[in-house]
């Protein structure tokens, strides 16, 4: 009974605050943005540009001198246009308040869950999701957590009535949490909290190998009703899905590379990959992409360079590895709106600014396999872009005036801006 009351209270509370921004209507007229500095997302910049989009797609982009605007003209002289930022490996929409268990939907029980699909639980009306847009984060990969194989992710745009409308690529890949080479003592049980070599490491890899073998056998049998987890691996073997392997240390990364070769994994992406910087050339040679860990973190080892997390992505990019940033870790959902500043930090530590932008736009789209329609400002792609008063990778000038998702003129309001306005009004009396 007490629980019931609790649930009712929660529902009422959420019900009250959930009235979110209304998703924008389809693009109805041609729009031209003129005069802005266009940051393409592939390393290029066009000063004083004109961008035209109709029916949700970019139909023209170039120097203003070479393109005549049409339709509704937005004068953005002195301003900047960017492709919408993409937050990969996120749990946006899966959890509202981590401390409130009833609102948590990111982690299923069980160890081998490739059949678990994140898109099902994506809450398009999450207050956290809408708070991304004012900072230019307009798309996200929604990724389940937990277990050895956490499940299958999907990519969404962040202005939708429901998960079905939000999806821009459903079931893009399967996520494996690679076994830890080092295991940590359970300090809460009185063990030394230090890390030591994990004695079960090889055994744990063998378990994954065995799962892969079994899955291949099940798929060959053709009886799809039998083992859901096995059949959910099909796309990983035929190349229609990406295998994302969440892994950090050098030895484990090497093991992942040989695992992928041995098992004929066609599309492999490393996630987090803290020590990938030690293997940059090898990754480049094997054509393996990396969703690099958040720059805003402390180094893993006492002896590490203080700026190692800041420059990790730069080291990989310099070596020619296809790399993008992801933001998993503490407070990963609410902090995802800081993705542009994480890219800015990489620029502060040596990467060219336009290349830093690629880390959250063009490169991300390539890695997630959505670069045919998003990621850069190029003809034929979705008009998912925004206008900022200034440099969007610097927090002082990341000031969005307009944002479009698939050409739809979306709201830049949020729970936060509403409260801000409400209390400004209170004090202006």
């Amino acid at each position: 009974m007490k629980n019931l009351i609790y649930i009712i209270v929660l529902i009422t509370l959420f019900g009250e605050v959930r009235a979110q921004q209304t998703p924008a209507k389809d693009q109805s007229e041609v729009i031209s943005i003129t005069g802005a500095t266009a940051h393409i997302g592939n390393g290029e910049v066009i000063e004083n540009s004109t961008i035209i989009f109709e029916n949700g797609k970019i139909t023209a982009i170039g120097a203003s001198s070479s393109i005549s605007p049409k339709g509704k003209i937005i004068d953005a002289s002195g301003k900047h246009v960017y492709p919408g930022f993409i937050a990969p490996n996120s749990t946006l929409g899966l959890v509202e308040i981590s401390a409130v268990r009833a609102s948590d939907d990111d982690s299923e029980i069980g160890n081998y869950n490739p059949h678990i699909r994140s898109i099902i639980a994506f809450n398009a009306e999450s207050k956290i999701v809408e708070s991304m847009r004012p900072n230019g984060v307009l798309m996200a990969q929604v990724t389940p957590r937990g277990g050895v194989i956490s499940g299958t992710s999907s990519v969404v745009q962040l202005d939708a009535w429901n998960w079905e409308d939000a999806a821009i690529k459903t079931d893009d890949g399967v996520h494996i949490n690679w076994p830890n080479v080092f295991s940590q003592g359970q300090w809460w049980l009185g063990e030394d909290p230090g890390f030591k070599p994990n004695k079960k490491y090889t055994k744990q890899i063998n378990e994954i190998e065995n799962f892969i073998k079994q899955a291949k056998a099940s798929i060959k049998s053709g009886v799809t009703s039998e083992n859901l987890p096995h059949h959910a691996m099909k796309g990983v073997f035929d190349g229609s899905k990406i295998l994302y392997v969440h892994v950090d240390v050098e030895k484990a990364i090497l093991d992942v590379i040989s695992f992928a070769q041995k098992n004929g994994i066609k599309k492999l992406v490393l996630v987090n990959a803290y020590e990938a910087y030690k293997l940059a050339n090898q990754l480049k040679r094997n054509n393996i992409a990396v969703l690099s860990g958040r720059p805003h973190k402390t180094p893993n080892y006492e002896d590490d360079d203080y700026d190692l997390p800041y420059k990790n992505a730069k080291i990989l990019m310099d070596a020619g590895v296809l790399v993008a940033l992801q933001n998993s870790g503490g407070m990963e959902r609410t902090n995802a709106r800081n993705l542009p500043f994480q890219a800015g930090t990489v620029a502060a530590h040596g990467l060219d600014k336009e290349k830093a932008l690629q880390l959250i736009t063009g490169n991300t789209a390539k890695i997630l396999g959505i670069d045919k329609f998003v990621g850069t400002l190029e003809i034929g792609k979705d008009a998912t872009l925004f206008i900022s008063q200034g440099d969007a990778l610097d927090m002082r000038t990341n000031l969005l005036e307009k944002a479009f998702i698939q050409g739809r003129d979306i709201s830049l309001e949020s729970h936060h801006t509403k409260l801000w306005k409400r209390y400004r009004k209170k004090y202006s009396k």
Partner: protein, 997 residues
């Protein structure tokens, strides 16, 4: 029953020797003798610094009767000739738990749902806290362990001091003579040898308080006050713990600290009450020896030098930090560094995995510079001194216990052997000294054949090799009670048959003759003659091999981990030319301007300043700001939350500052110069803060601000009502309860103060003293807060008790009551954009700082996080985006405003002549995402420098490589190794509840 019989036997046996005069005897006549035992012709090392050559030692009834050169030997003496041998006092271990088992842990953490927790004491008639157990007598749980005693005896110990290793105050210990044949009464030299203490809780109780190191320290202080108060007779209840504590006051006080820094902490508590603890150290004293020396304490030092890490797999080797590698290299110097600095210490076998490691460890310490005489003193005279027993233990003198060693050579020489260890006049044979050493090469003649026999190894357990011509024969030798038997196989290996010989060795070990049994069963005789050295023709290779190289020791740095300083940075006079200066003063932002720092202070700001003798740094295109100040940090501390009570005003983070946290260096790299380490948010009234300057390399004491303003952490909301913990049994569980808790505490503190001021006697209460300081305006509150209702509540409680809340920290709904905050005069230190992680931060908005600031609330932005604090300038810059704050004001959110909130703005927070030279030189605009701190300066000394950082990275890599090579060498030479390991501390946030035992 069997046990009883056994102990009866032991006692009877004892009686035969030393019949106790008033004990009746019914199994025979009461015989006794009063014979003397006399040891002659030995070198007697009476103390580590004096010896008697060809001396005589006379013992009688367990004690030393006489020692010297010209001694008349009593007639009724048994004489033992020790020509060429040495006599030393037996060793004393002042810190063991010999014969005593520690109770098992009862489990139950505040995290585990449904865990049975005791919030109050479970005993009656004793102190209110179960972890204070001065009444414990080790005797009640002591069982003499002869097996273990023999192990000690074999290593040379005659006496050990033992105790119950459980609890914060652990009660009294026992001094036990390792006299296996003695009676219980005879062995027990003292049943109150010392009082033992530690910072660890008792396993015998589940009482939650204290949960932290600082809680244990505070508790200890309060107990001392209470014990004193108890003597006044004003306490109406009986408290057996306090009575015992008062009784134990004059005993030696032995404190198990377990690490250098905890030793310093213990000493600090002791100093406050004029108690000088003897400190059981951690083996890492060498790394900050000056501080250790300043304690004036005598130390008890373990010898558990770490084994080399097995770095043969480079992937695994990555785990090991430079600090841990250095400790492996440097730890064996600890005893020698202590002694060279004049610190008196005893050694202990405590923490050794096996007692038999002792001699090798001492030899290692000697190889690393420890003087042999000091080593001896640390095992004899010093422990005797610590225990107040120098008159009867630790040296060879008249009247002392007859506890002594007979050795082959001098102690701590390579081939020395301990023959006998006499304890209370009773002989223990460690190695039979009467065994003839038969090692050597022999020619064995038997049945017309000549064999080569080579014997080596210890005299008591020799090994043999038998050769016939060039053929090696399988053999087995046995040597016991002066009889040697040797069995060997036949040269014809196709047959299984043996030859056996047997001979008695008497005074002619070089020539054996005895009986032999041939494979065919025929009995005959044989002779074996020892070859002379020339015959055996062995080279001296072995001796050459034994010569060891001097161990190479890596120098200590401050702190002794990666990025530590070889020398502590010193204040410099520097002129920064042509910078953009963010003054935070009326001058605003000055372009192309110079700043001169001198003697640790800002000396001049202006155009074209004269450098004088100052170093010139060209800062063209660069920016200079005041150092960043973090109002809410949890780095550089070994504890954050005392969660055992709903108020913990008695604890202070100043007790647990950790100067060797790498996050200090990383924060410097982000331009941070000052921080407030706040207590966590586990309870409504938290602990006192520590306000630090991040002077990387300095001691904990030197990091803390001089004349630091006094602060205390309060907390409201979900954390204090334990919404997200396993346990839900501690008051308060609602915001309503939180208010009443404050009213109750402030009311009581007021009454406490009135009593105190009245001049009447009162019980000194650290908690009440602290809360009274708040009422008096001497201590400021920084209150963790989220929702508007509770923010408003605390201001109302403060109004009621007529004081002001100084700061609301976090204050995420400050924007909702900013007008009320401004009216109350409280400041707000908030996150730039954290929200959504728990229910109470649902309405947290990034515009909070802007709204509070615009309403006239003194506003700062803080971190609560070791990572975010590295980028606080960028967090401040978010206020430009969220709410349109000017850049100048935004920078003040992380410099001048937190300085004002912390009441240190007279010293830091702006660039003003006369203020401390705490500055940051930025590569560009200080609020830009693209800028880095290039130099971070505190009191005029450069603590972070990008260029120096680069060169340190190279040095770290090469030092690690060097140490890895040394470790591989150790491994390849056959030494034991340990698997690679990365030490980990909990990453503290406000909500972290750390655990102590």
């Amino acid at each position: 029953m069997k046990k009883l019989l056994l102990s009866l036997t032991v006692i009877c046996w004892g009686f035969n020797f030393y019949a106790q005069e008033y004990f009746p005897k019914n199994d025979g006549v009461k015989t006794a003798d009063s014979n003397y035992t006399v040891f002659k012709n030995a070198t007697i090392h009476t103390t580590p610094n004096s010896e008697i050559k060809n001396g005589t030692l006379v013992i009688h009834k367990g004690k030393i009767a006489q020692v010297g050169n010209n001694i008349t030997v009593p007639k009724n003496s048994v004489i033992i000739d020790l020509k060429g041998k040495h006599i030393y006092a037996s060793f004393i271990d002042p810190f063991t738990n010999f014969g005593i088992k520690k109770p098992k842990k009862q489990g139950g953490s505040i995290f585990s749902p449904g865990a049975k927790l005791d919030w109050k004491a479970t005993r009656e008639g004793y102190y209110w806290n179960d972890h204070i157990r001065p009444e414990t007598s080790a005797l009640t749980s002591f069982t003499y362990d002869s097996k273990k005693a023999t192990e000690y005896i074999n290593e040379g110990f005659g006496v050990v001091n033992t105790h119950m290793p459980d609890g914060i105050i652990r009660g009294t210990g026992l001094l036990i003579a390792l006299n296996n044949k003695g009676t219980k009464g005879e062995r027990l030299l003292s049943d109150t040898s010392a009082q033992f203490l530690s910072f660890e809780k008792s396993n015998a109780s589940r009482q939650v308080y204290p949960t932290s190191l600082m809680g244990a320290m505070a508790l200890l202080r309060q107990v001392y006050y209470d014990a004193d108060w108890y003597t006044s007779g004003k306490v109406t209840n009986k408290d057996l713990s306090l009575e015992a504590l008062n009784r134990n006051k004059n005993l030696p006080q032995i404190f198990e600290a377990g690490s250098r820094i905890n030793g310093l902490r213990a000493d600090k508590v002791g100093d406050q009450f004029n108690i000088q603890y003897t400190i059981v150290g951690g083996g890492d004293e060498y790394a900050r020896i000056d501080e250790v020396k300043a304690t004036n304490a005598t130390y008890i030092i373990p010898l558990d030098f770490p084994e080399a890490y097995d770095v043969s797999d480079p992937f695994m080797a990555n785990l090991v930090s430079l600090g841990d590698m250095r400790h492996w290299n440097q730890a064996p110097t600890n005893p020698s560094v202590l002694s060279k600095n004049g610190i008196s210490f005893s050694l202990t076998t405590h923490k050794l995995k096996k007692l038999t490691d002792l001699n090798a460890r001492i030899m290692k310490a000697i190889a690393h510079g420890l003087d042999k005489k000091i080593a001896l003193a640390s095992l004899t005279t010093i422990p005797a001194q610590i225990l107040g027993k120098s008159n009867v233990l630790g040296s060879i003198k008249k009247g002392a216990y007859a506890n002594f060693l007979i050795t082959k050579d001098e102690l701590f020489t390579k081939d020395n052997i301990i023959f006998e260890n006499w304890v209370q006049g009773r002989k223990n044979i460690v190695t039979d000294m009467n065994i003839q050493d038969i090692s050597g090469d022999y020619e064995l003649v038997l049945a017309g054949k000549s064999y080569d026999v080579s014997i080596s190894g210890k005299p008591s357990s020799p090994k043999a090799k038998v050769k016939l011509g060039e053929i090696n024969l399988g053999s087995k030798i046995n040597y016991k009670d002066n009889w040697v038997t040797l069995t060997f196989t036949d040269a014809d290996t196709t047959k299984t048959q043996y030859t056996r010989i047997v001979a008695a060795i008497h005074d002619t070990p070089d020539l054996w003759d005895g009986k032999a049994v041939l494979p065919n069963g025929v009995e005959t005789t044989f002779t074996a003659k020892k070859k002379t050295k020339e015959d055996s023709g062995k080279t001296k290779d072995k001796e050459i091999l034994d010569k060891k190289e001097e161990p190479e020791i890596i120098p200590v740095v401050y702190p002794n981990i990666a990025y530590g300083n070889v020398k502590l940075p010193k204040s410099e006079n520097i002129l920064f030319k042509n910078a953009t200066i963010w003054t935070n003063e009326a001058d605003g932002i000055l372009t192309e301007t110079d700043v001169l720092i001198k003697d640790g202070k800002i000396s001049a700001v202006g155009k074209d300043l004269n450098a004088g003798n100052a170093k010139i740094i060209d800062a063209t295109g660069k920016h200079i700001t005041a150092g960043i100040i973090d109002e809410h940090s949890h780095i550089a501390a070994d504890a954050i939350n005392e969660a055992g009570h709903n108020s913990s005003a008695e604890v202070t983070i100043e007790d647990v500052v950790s100067p060797s946290d790498i996050n200090i260096y990383r924060n410097l790299a982000g331009g941070v110069t000052s921080i407030q380490i706040l207590h966590g948010s586990a309870n409504p009234i938290g602990g006192r803060s520590a306000i630090l300057k991040l002077k990387w390399g300095e001691s904990a004491e030197n990091l803390i601000y001089k004349n630091s303003p006094k602060f205390i952490k309060f907390a409201l909301g979900e954390n204090v009502k334990q919404s997200n913990w396993g346990s839900t049994t501690r008051f308060p569980q609602t915001r309503m309860g939180v208010e009443q808790l404050f009213v109750d505490y402030f009311g009581r503190a007021k009454a406490y103060q009135e009593l105190k001021q009245s001049g009447k006697p009162y019980r000194k209460d650290i908690e009440m003293e602290t809360i009274a300081e708040i009422l008096n305006g001497q201590r400021f509150i920084s209150c963790h807060s989220y929702v508007q209702s509770e923010i408003n509540m605390l201001m109302k409680v403060a109004d009621k008790f007529n004081f002001k809340v100084n700061t609301f920290t976090h204050i995420l709904e400050g924007y909702k009551v900013a007008d009320k905050m401004a009216a109350h005069g409280v400041g707000g230190s908030t996150f730039s954009d954290w929200w959504g992680y728990k229910f109470e931060v649902n309405d947290a908005i990034p515009y909070n700082a802007a709204i509070m600031h615009n309403q006239g609330v003194l506003t700062a932005i803080n971190s609560d996080d070791a990572e975010m604090s590295r980028r606080l300038n960028q967090e401040a810059a978010k206020s430009v985006k969220y709410g349109g704050i000017s850049e100048e004001d935004a920078l003040k959110f992380v410099t001048l405003n937190p300085a004002k909130l912390l009441h240190i703005d007279d010293r830091v927070g702006s660039i003003k002549i006369g203020k401390d030279a705490d500055l940051v030189l930025w590569t560009g605009h200080p609020l830009s995402i693209y800028s880095k701190a290039e130099k971070t300066i505190i009191d005029g000394a450069i603590y972070f420098d990008l260029t120096k950082d680069k060169s340190m990275r190279k040095a770290i890599a090469s030092e690690k490589n060097k140490l890895s090579t040394m470790m591989l060498k150790a491994k390849n030479s056959g030494l034991k190794t340990q698997p690679p390991k990365k030490k980990e501390k909990q990453h503290f946030k406000c909500e972290t509840v750390e655990t102590i035992n």
